[in-house]
């Protein structure tokens, strides 16, 4: 089977790229796929702590590219799932230690033995971004309902398209249904209308996310978590399952009535 290489990007920092990579990757692995996560944020390594494998790192992605180790030596196996691996970023190197061509080769190599290669893209639109998208055939753009995140997402979508990466999906993260009920937040529909790329899912804002990163255990392991379920559904949709998008109906009947009256 030909694997998929996915880059998770956003332009703006702090919108939840790393959390998204960790959770989608874990959810796909739980479904039985062979998954490798690549932290492409060279110099600002983070995916390892979110996955809880930070104290098992010996080699990193730059070591693979420079030939300091074999590819398998830099791949860290997940604590729970035997079919989930992480290739950490180098912490003490610069973004230009790697070039897009090398990342493309690495991706192609990984796709030979994995169903999903998921890249965690750094914030920004410079070298690190170009590296991260080089080997991807699919892009997931993460945004939040904030104006700054949406504007950056729009810019990134433009850059992806001009790099001929046109298979783009959107995730709206940190949807705050309480704020939405009050009318003090853009709706999912508003955001999708502005960015005009297909929606892959909506993740509600949740304190559970911080708790799970504190522990280094992705939320999708946690049954009954709304945000975890949202990530699980996103992973299922990536796999081609037809699961309806969670609508803003979370706002409840009263919220609907209120919004109807005030609109």
């Amino acid at each position: 089977m030909a694997g998929k290489s996915i880059v998770v990007t956003s332009g703006k920092g702090g919108v939840g790229k790393t959390t998204t990579v960790a959770n989608i990757g874990t959810a796909l692995a739980k479904k039985g796929f062979r998954v490798v996560l690549v932290d492409a944020d060279i110099g600002l390594r983070n995916l390892d702590v979110v996955m809880g494998v930070e104290n098992r790192i010996v080699y990193n992605v730059v070591d693979i590219i420079e030939g300091n180790c074999r590819m398998e030596q830099a791949m860290i196996r997940d604590r729970k799932l035997t079919n989930l691996y992480l290739i950490p970023a180098a912490q003490t190197r610069e973004k230009d230690a790697v070039n897009p061509e090398q990342m493309k080769d690495l991706c192609a190599q990984l796709l030979e033995s994995f169903d999903y290669v998921i890249m965690d893209c750094p914030a920004g639109i410079e070298r690190g971004f170009k590296n991260a998208i080089a080997g991807a055939d699919t892009a997931i753009v993460v945004t939040t309902p904030e104006v700054s995140a949406i504007r950056d997402a729009d810019r990134v979508i433009g850059l992806l398209e001009s790099n001929l990466l046109t298979n783009i999906h959107l995730i709206v993260n940190r949807m705050n249904y309480r704020m939405l009920r009050k009318g003090d937040q853009m709706s999912t529909e508003d955001i999708v209308g502005l960015l005009s790329v297909p929606l892959l899912g909506v993740v509600p804002e949740s304190e559970e996310v911080l708790v799970s990163t504190n522990r280094g255990v992705p939320l999708v392991h946690n049954r009954g978590s709304h945000a975890g379920t949202a990530f699980q559904n996103i992973a299922a949709r990536l796999d081609g399952e037809n699961i309806p998008i969670e609508s803003d109906n979370h706002a409840g009947l009263m919220g609907k009535i209120k919004r109807f009256i005030w609109s």
Binding site: V147, G183, M186, L194
Partner: protein
Amino acid sequence: MFRAIQRFFRERNSGKVAHQRMQVVLMHDRLDITPDVMEALKNDILGVLSRYMDIDQESMSVDLEQGKDYTALISNVHIKRVYRRPMTANP
């Protein structure tokens, strides 16, 4: 209920405000056309029109105009006279 009424009279919901602001901002971002490109576009339009009519080149203008939910390319052309037959592309 009282608070809802209070809100109603206070201001528009900030979510709506954000949405409208973003519509304008993104349109501008996407249409980030440099003056050079704009000048080239103007010259091309001028070239095509000149085959059909005599145009006052000095007074011609090409601008992007931002509406509430659209962006329009507005060109103002003063026609001096119209030819009976189109001129060839390279006169």
